[in-house]
Subunit: 360 residues, 2 copies
């Protein structure tokens, strides 16, 4: 989706991926190679004005070593390093007094058990690096469960223990930011997870103006705290008492911002490109009253042959996106459906109906 | 833009073009070869479920000869043949009593002079085939001018003489239609030409509901009259006395429908793909109150290096499209800017301001 946005702007695109998984196959200039290899990275960077990474796991630090000084690289590897490690990420946010659930960086199981006693159970044990979509996290109801989870999730430097917060809902805010600090902040999105995975996003979120402004302020300050350049998604918890706490940051175009393609004057993908190139940022505001995005997840293992696509297309106003991934597997993100409408509930109903038709 | 819409739907795209001009370079599966060559066409069609042409000059008739019966080809060559020749196009529309400016298919200059006397000067002499953007047309104020124009524009079968109609404005309506006759009709667009070339498109057009419905009815009947499948643009004249006459048809995604990308639930490009594949057609209605598209034309001969792009991007709400054409020349269509807004005038001002910043 980032490449599609860049092509529309007349930007020439080169892609580097360690695995040919399908979505890259539509584009002309694709390198499938070991992206840890400095020779691969150097050859790829040849002729680029700017390089960006779409995954916090991409070897941006190795890129720095081979990139000519004239070539921009955003987000900066130091930002990725800070965000990638949940302990470092939280410390960077705490350092500027941003609101987070209580947490402790624990070097040993004893530290973790002490932290859990302090927070009270349940607690969430989180792997420092490599977790996503619920993988790498464990909600622990007692010391025994925590000890078990520690065995699988702790790394050499330990793991993170977080108090379980009784949130009312999850929110997300996209922030596009340039190297010079210039930025735009997207509307607040309501985020619905199912099985630790994003199911639906509805915008505008059903919040008071004050709460929405607070969510946007926190999101912007978080992005500034880690000095992220490009688009960053800030996931938030909204508590029953009105407090808004930061869940986590993703330094890239994010599932919670796919709705921006149809609903905003400038999509998250286009503003990522603009930010990375140092171009003026586009208007992040909604051009429609309301929007809902629902993910299309895989149902089975095997070649991705969508069934029910024409049923989904028959739903009025459904904008269907299929990513062209070659293989499906249960719960893999294979596409999404966006519907814009006058009211969030109307958009939600139509998007759910269309997305549920597609099976692959 | 059609390929971008197809990729979003997970459709695999192959392109065949007789010349590498730039826009095709972003895509993976591109053949640059003589598309009149049956071997080229046969090799290209290999593995396709459906084939479409984006130009009424593409050799669709030759494709028919080499395509397996199982492969859909839309629009059908017989439709393209009817639309491509202005005499045949007008006769097909007249046959179903659709309103056109008075015209005469003239085999000889004497026929043309007789028709002009009947219509009264000025008349417009039109080449039967191969005219676009004002090339191939001549407005003639007297017999001498008509005789001069005849020398350059008449073909073996003559040329077309059309009465000059004092239209108030030009309109355009997109119609997406499937092989089974199922169709959707887009809103009526106000079309502003400068130097015989589309300059700006504003939607909704400033028309009474009755006039808009009449324009849509005429557009649909015109598309049915030539049995066009895919997207077809119908250009219309709106006269001071309220009459709406057909100017001409274009059996493909058309400049007058570029606004649909940002403004409609389903773009002209996506509905072209859907129609050609026999999929359900998408909602053509506006998802915003108003929209304006302004073309970005070339200013000079040479390599296409856009200047002022960042100035254009700095205009709030401007969606910039650059086509990636390698070479610019004066008045060549190099891109466009779309702005959606609450009011047509607001969209127009912003789109004009942004488009005027880009020079290439």
């Amino acid at each position: 989706m980032t490449a599609l946005a860049a092509i529309r702007l007349g930007v020439r695109v080169k892609l580097l991926t360690p695995d040919a998984s399908g979505p890259e196959a539509a584009f002309a200039d694709v390198t499938v190679a070991d992206w840890m290899d400095p020779f691969v990275l150097r050859a790829f960077a040849e002729g680029c004005d700017a390089v960006t990474v779409e995954s916090e796991w991409a070897p941006a630090d190795r890129l720095v070593d081979v990139l000519p000084e004239s070539v921009a690289l955003w987000p900066h590897p130091s930002t990725l390093k800070r965000i990638r490690h949940k302990g470092r990420q939280k410390k960077a946010l705490t350092a500027v007094h941003l609101p987070l659930p209580p947490y402790a960086c624990c070097a040993t199981l004893d530290d973790a058990l002490a932290a859990a006693r302090q927070f009270d159970y349940p607690v969430v044990l989180k792997r420092y690096e490599g977790s996503y979509d619920g993988y790498g996290n464990a909600t622990c109801d007692d010391a025994e469960a925590l000890a078990d989870a520690w065995m699988t999730l702790a790394a050499d430097d330990g793991a993170l223990v977080e108090a379980w917060v009784p949130f009312e809902c999850e929110l997300a805010v996209q922030v596009a930011r340039r190297a010079d600090g210039n930025h735009v902040v997207y509307p607040v999105a309501y985020l619905e997870q199912r099985d630790h995975r994003c199911h639906a996003v509805v915008v505008p979120a059903d919040l008071s103006a004050g709460a929405a402004a607070e969510a946007q302020r926190i999101a912007l300050e978080a992005v500034e705290a880690v000095d992220s350049v490009g688009i960053t998604a800030v996931e938030l918890f909204h508590l029953a008492d009105g407090r808004i706490l930061i869940n986590e940051l993703a330094p890239r175009p994010h599932n919670s911002g796919h709705y921006t393609i149809e609903a905003c004057h400038t999509s998250q993908f286009e503003n990522h490109i603009r930010a990375v190139l140092g171009w003026p940022l586009g208007d992040p505001s909604l051009r429609v009253p309301a929007v809902c995005m629902v993910n299309v997840l895989g149902h089975r293992d095997g070649a991705a042959e969508p069934r029910g696509l024409t049923d989904a297309l028959a739903m009025p106003g459904a904008a269907v996106h299929l990513y062209g991934k070659a293989a499906s597997r249960p719960r893999r993100k294979m596409g999404h459906v966006t519907v814009t409408a006058d009211h969030p509930a109307k958009a939600r109903d139509a998007a759910e109906a269309a997305a549920s038709r597609i099976r692959l």
